[in-house]
């Protein structure tokens, strides 16, 4: 098998880039991203949810724009009838919906740190205040006209999914903006 090649490899320079001796943002890319898109037929939602419960241990059905994070994977309801399973895959019976591999379609960047919310709001018109966008929330929005998905893993920890072809351009804009806070790029 060939090795996977990151879309942002050309400008993914691991290291620390402080601003006035401070680092308030930490970036890391998931180099081995696995995304399985699971789409349910409208009359099969309950069966798909049962599958999630059986296969992943989902305790409570996940609302639209919410997710649940497990030890090795996470499940996010991206649309009323569509979920993203991140980190692993499951078998989906054809009669209840469709499964699609999207692991190479996106570049996933973890954004951590005190200023992560502020950095994201430099670009995203999303109300990311914790009350409004609590942990395990997801949203679809746009950075510089490019459609992106955002997941909140923790108070100061977000995952941004950028369409692969635009990833390098958006990554460079993020680094530009982050330079005023000081940032670190970590290996993953």
């Amino acid at each position: 098998m060939l090795n996977r090649n990151s879309a942002i490899k050309e400008n993914y320079k691991i290291g620390k880039y402080p601003f006035e001796d401070k680092i308030e943002i930490v970036f890391s890319e998931n180099h081995n991203l696995v995304i399985q898109q699971i789409a349910a037929w409208p009359d099969e939602i309950s069966n798909v949810e049962k599958l999630f419960s059986d296969e992943l241990g989902v305790k409570q059905n996940i609302d639209f724009n919410r997710g649940e994070i497990f030890k090795k994977n996470s499940l996010w309801r991206m649309e009323p009838l569509k979920w993203w399973l991140i980190g692993s895959t499951i078998n989906l019976p054809e009669n209840i919906g469709t499964s699609l591999e999207l692991s190479h379609a996106f570049t996933s960047i973890m954004i951590n740190g005190e200023k992560s919310e502020i950095l994201l709001n430099r670009h995203l018109p999303l109300d990311l205040r914790l009350d409004n966008f609590p942990i395990n929330s997801s949203a679809s929005s746009a950075i510089h006209h490019v459609s992106v998905k955002l997941f909140r893993h923790n108070k100061n920890e977000f995952k941004l999914f950028i369409p692969r072809g635009f990833a390098l351009s958006i990554w460079e804009i993020l680094l530009e903006s982050a330079s005023q806070f000081g940032y670190e790029i970590k290996d993953n």
Binding site: M1, N5, Q37, I170
Partner: protein, 985 residues
Amino acid sequence: MTSVRKEKYGKINRDKVLGFTWDNKEYFGYEGDSLASALLANNIKIVGRSFKYHRPRGVMSCGVEESGALVTIGSGSKADPNVRATTQELYSGLIAKGQNAFPNVNYDFGGINNYLSRFFAAGFYYKTFMGLPPFEWGKGTGIWMIFEKIIRKAAGMGKASREPDPDNYEHANDFCDLLVVGSGPAGIAAAQEAVNKKLDVILIEQDSLLGGNNLSEAEFDASLLQNQLESSGIRVMSRTTAFGVYDNTVVGALERVTDHIPNPNSKLPRQRFWTIRAKHIILASGALERHVAFNNNDIPGVMTVNASRHYLNRYGILTGNNIVITTNNDSVYQTALELQEAGSKVTILDSRKNINLDLPKEIDVHLNTLPFSINGRKKIEGLDVCKATDKNNKNTIICDQVLISGGWSPIVNLVSHRGIKPIWNQENLCFVPGDIKENITVVGSAKGIWNKNDCVKSGLVGANEAMNTLGIHKKEISFPSVGGWLNPIDTLFEVKSNKFPSKSFVDFQHDVTAEDVRLAHREGFISVEHLKRYTTLGMANDQGKMGNIIGLSLMAEQLDKTIPEVGTTVFRPPYTPVPIGALTGRNVGKHFRPLRVTPMHQWNIDHGAKMIEVGLYQRPWYYPKKNETLSDSYIRETTIVRKTVGICDVTSLGKIAIQGPDATELVNRIYTNPFAKLPIGKARYGIMLRDDGMVMDDGTSWRLGENEYFMTTSTAAAAKVMSWLEELLQTRWTDLKVNVTSVSEQWAGTSIAGPKSRDVLNECVLDSNEISNQNLPFMGVLQTKLKDGTPCRVVRISFSGELAYEMYIESDYAHGMMDILWESAKKYDGCLYGLEALGALRVEKGHVTAAELDGRVTIDDAGLGKMASTKKSYIGSAMRKRGVLNADDREMLVGFFPINEKETFNAGTIVCEKNNIQGQGIGRITSVTHSPELGHWIGIGYVNGGLDSWKDVTLVGADPVRNKQMEIKVVSPHMIDPEGKRMYA
């Protein structure tokens, strides 16, 4: 005017001395100074020249309404013109210059305009447009072209740098429950009340210090206030101007991040453009003190009264020795007292006959007295005054400063942005905000409340109104009444002069005089909007903050109407100027547009590709060898593909996964040709039409499984087709069980074209005999593995007319795939080819792209009518049968050759009959190339009636844009291998 720095006054930091340059001379100020206060402290009287007459102007206010001290900050690429010195914070090393003057603002040759002012009255531009009488009467604007350059040079403000802006800017978003604009007494009260009730509050203040009008008071401590507010949880944004209020309580704001820092860190943006979405907005934007129009009311030394107090108590500057205050209201008396205590001789002229106030005995107060005319040219030498009831008898008061208060105007600009008309309050002679139906509350002096305690109370009430509207509680609320002075204000907008032309200014920035307003009336421009445009009143960068009310009052007088009957102009965003750089944010340079690259982008560059933008995509254009031009390169690449093999990145094609039990039904409904019986493992070329029967796009669909298709679209129509499928499934065919998902980013694609392509592929896949004519016939699909085991998809398909394949692989593996393919292709003397060669190959073969399928053609026009099924219904199948779409003389796809094979033509060339070269001709050439195969220039395009109508007829290709004509002939669009022997090999 002799202004001096006073000990023990002001909120400046005298321990920190700041050097700055004004008109190439060095001066000093203190930390906390504005540029205006530093200039005043250095007793610099003339800081600008007026727009039209080049009259000397001094500092006239202390805020954003400033009309005199407009200066240029910085130099070279950092030169920033028309900056209000009153709002520019002083920093060490600041470079400031006067503008609109030669050689400088003290001695300006342009000052001669002042003596020619009778020729520059309102509307003189428009009159000049009519031509110079009597020579150009009726001849229009000829001579204007000469005058324009002179006028533009002589009139105006500062000059913008012609160099690229070196600074960074950025956009930002924020959200809150309550946004308070303004940190004066009312704004502070509102913010504190709301944060006490646990609301998330943002407080915006345009100044560097919080406090608003409190900053004019001696005892006020701004830093203490800032600490109190921040510790209570209020998010304070100072140096930030709310410049506009938009739908759904969205506020646009500009933060000046580094404009006050000498050598800012380049990582910081200079300015930040905020979009703030609040649940409720409280506007505590304050009020502006007005001038009064009288002769020479613009001589350096004229200032609003409250500005003088502000300079004294904030900056420790006494702005005059011998000050005359002229007023029609109560607001000036505290200032007078403080100026007198600070050491000035103060005289008050009050236009009112009687007032009920405890007048300070140390101050001369003249009731029923008006300012008539200021004496002096570059500085005030005296003021002619008269009784309000007798303007013929004048006395002269020797003074060095005239402070004016003609009343106060609430800042209704922001609420006006919402289309809410202000209401005239006759009692207080000002416009106050009208009835607001949105989640916006106006408090304090912005509401016309003058008394400080009432302002605080209005802030508290405003916060409670916000909480009522947000459903936090329901409280009875009652705002304090508008007004608050002990004595009524007197109507005083102008003291008429008997001089002509009058130099009684209404709008200082644009040199609009009271006489200009009357002239506009005489010439019929009586609507307030016409008045504005004819005189340019209120059209400078202060947008009428100083002059609008006076102008309206003068027009009302002329029309014998009241001010509300005349109306007011609509204030539009921005409240203060917003630099274009801030509007642009980070969308500049390489990030002007989002950049889209294929997964092989770097591989292509590393292998010598010259790239070209195709939409947002960067695609390889050509791969030049040493010293090769574009033409050399693409001709070589095209030749090699036809001879051996070439590899081309085709990832930009749109790719859509179609899944579900009704996938076949969907595909069959959208393409014109039948797909119902397409076997698994086969692909088919298809055309899809719009509802109106015109061609939307072409592409292929591969059947990967019983219920799964992989659709490719053209690069140009990828998004359009994806949206179209979603729309059909969500609105028309909701019963179909199909999911469509864009997988354009998931898959990287490459074309392997040429007689040796099969050999190349067999070297690259796991089973070296797998790619055979039998295993993979034309339009066959194979899901296989590269020789290292990486899965890939191969389809036998040809855009070049040669034996050709496309290989698709998951994007992260694209570099590896290219390495493997290229290694093999090199053995066959193959090449990498770019978009230019791709175009040449397809034009030779007569294949269409977006250049031909441009939305104006039918499937028959494009020569693909045989692909339109007569046995099934599909999108566009009914409308394509309209008579007009089937007329015999419709244009049809053809090929074009030059008669003289040495000649070339361009895409866009109009095809005409030899003796009728005009208009749209009889056709058009859409794509052109040099054909290495044929050895001359070729093109494809459309001609009315098609090949049959023009066979063997010499036509003309007309290219009026390039002033070019050549003889051409019409040929079949399929210029090489029309039988397809190579393709099916």
